[in-house]
């Protein structure tokens, strides 16, 4: 087996707000094409960890490498400037619980925003790519409507297309289905499943245990800002070793397939 360096490498990462430490010395590697599900109770730090990967939250210490870009944090490291941060974030796509589509743009303009305003791709090319992506998530027929006219599931699929338009090396999903009506969850999970199958490197914060088990290859259980347990998805969900993981998973009824 060839030793390929991991796509995402998180090393000794900590995050504190004042004296309140929310992430304790976390190290995590995600191989190219891997998909990791972060699970855990609310307040466990999983969303914060995810937001640290694309530096929406600035870690207090440690380092993060995504592909070839490394960011170091800590008392001896200089804080990265705005342009450097922006360049780092442009390589990762992120999908939020609350969609965060831009209401001042149509659906297709949302998908074109990154390529147009960040990469300065010509408008025609950006449009062609956006249509292709919207088609991929089954939203091409809504290209010219305002995001406010879409259902939650549709909004989230557009948000995924918008993130993909930057051709990111990594996709981060922050509870992407938590704000959706139950009958709309499936359509978004379907798109995420396709992405994982197509070899996208993904980190997914989720409460969908069945999805974590079936789609992710690694599951990381976090509690109180620590990684309590991590391992192959099926093992952690079906046969957790740590008491806290067992206790947490007891609250979920994970259907078998």
């Amino acid at each position: 087996m060839s030793q390929q360096p991991p796509m995402i490498q998180i090393t000794n990462l900590s995050k504190a707000y004042g004296k309140n430490t929310v992430l304790h010395d976390i190290s995590l590697d995600v191989p190219q094409g891997g998909s990791v599900a972060l699970i855990g109770p609310s307040g466990s730090g999983k969303s914060t960890l995810l937001r640290c990967i694309n530096l929406l939250e600035e870690p207090s210490a440690g380092s993060i490498r995504v592909d070839s870009q490394v960011m170091e944090f800590g008392p001896r490291s200089q804080r990265p400037g705005g342009a450097r941060l922006a360049g780092f974030r442009a390589e990762t796509g992120m999908v939020f619980q609350s969609f965060n589509l831009f209401p001042n743009m149509t659906v297709i303009e949302n998908v074109m925003a990154g390529p147009l305003y960040v990469k300065h791709v010509p408008r025609d090319a950006a449009r062609a790519q956006a249509l292709e992506l919207l088609d991929r998530v089954g939203m091409a027929h809504k290209a010219d409507v305002s995001p406010s006219n879409l259902s939650g599931g549709q909004k989230q699929r557009v948000a995924i297309a918008r993130a993909l338009a930057m051709q990111p090396k990594v996709m981060l999903f922050d509870e992407a289905t938590s704000a959706l009506d139950p009958q709309l969850v499936g359509e978004v999970l379907g798109v995420m499943r396709d992405l994982a199958a197509a070899g996208m490197t993904m980190v997914v914060v989720t409460h969908e245990m069945a999805f974590a088990r079936d789609v992710a290859d690694t599951v990381v259980f976090m509690s109180g800002g620590y990684v309590v347990e991590k391992g192959p998805a099926h093992d952690v969900i079906e046969n957790p070793q740590e008491d806290r993981t067992k206790e947490f998973l007891r609250h979920f009824h994970v259907g078998r397939n």
Partner: protein
């Protein structure tokens, strides 16, 4: 005994009132534009994480928010020249006081507008790799500006009415000119009625326009 209204004499002095309108409109346009620039800078600087910028500016803006603009105007005209050892023409003092006064309030409107934007919008824009400037220009400002139209027009209406204060430092705006006409004709009732109507005719279309824009952009 009933009062005999006679607007004929006022009409005779129309050119004087015309000059007054020019000054009033000119002052409004200039102080509003400068005020908006000041306000934008204030709002953006107060967003700044650098306390040595945001704290002093916040204090300055509170001073201007919590004192009457008439007092500021008089202070700028009489006291400021002594403090700084310069001379200020009435017009310069008027422009200075009204621009800063307007700026502080425009700044508040802008700040409230920025704060009203869902934090998720900033996240969404940042996650795409936008720099602060791109994010402001493409995502935040287009949303803020729409919400700001109504309050901005209201503030500009106030700004225009506030220009009437400059008459106390002898800038020949509509009110000052009206005082001249009133003392020349001994017809203050007709003169001030006329002036009130003139203000209304200028401002009413403006408030209607803002209603229209707000409805269109709602």
């Amino acid at each position: 005994m009933s009062y005999q209204w006679d607007f004929g004499l006022v009409w005779h002095y129309a050119p004087l009132l015309g000059t007054g309108i020019e000054y009033t409109l000119g002052l409004t346009v200039v102080t509003s534009v400068i005020g908006m620039v000041i306000g934008t800078c204030l709002a953006l600087c107060q967003q700044s994480r650098m306390w040595f910028i945001s704290v002093p500016l916040g204090m300055v803006s509170e001073v201007f928010r919590c004192t009457p603009s008439l007092v500021q105007l008089i202070w700028c005209y009489y006291a400021l020249p002594i403090v700084l050892g310069i001379t200020l023409s009435p017009m310069a003092a008027a422009l200075l006081a009204l621009s800063i006064y307007g700026g502080v309030f425009y700044g508040e409107i802008f700040r409230a507008g920025l704060r009203s934007i869902d934090p998720g919008q900033w996240d969404g824009a940042r996650a795409l790799g936008m720099t602060s400037w791109t994010m402001m220009r493409r995502v935040i400002l287009p949303q803020v500006l729409r919400r700001m139209v109504g309050p901005m027009v209201s503030q500009t209406v106030l700004q225009l009415k506030n220009t009437s204060l400059v008459s106390v430092v002898t800038v020949p705006d509509l009110v000052y000119q009206g005082q001249m006409v009133a003392s020349a004709t001994y017809r203050p009732l007709e003169v001030y009625t006329t002036i009130a109507i003139l203000y209304f005719l200028i401002l009413f279309p403006l408030t209607q326009l803002s209603r229209l824009l707000e409805r269109r952009w709602a």
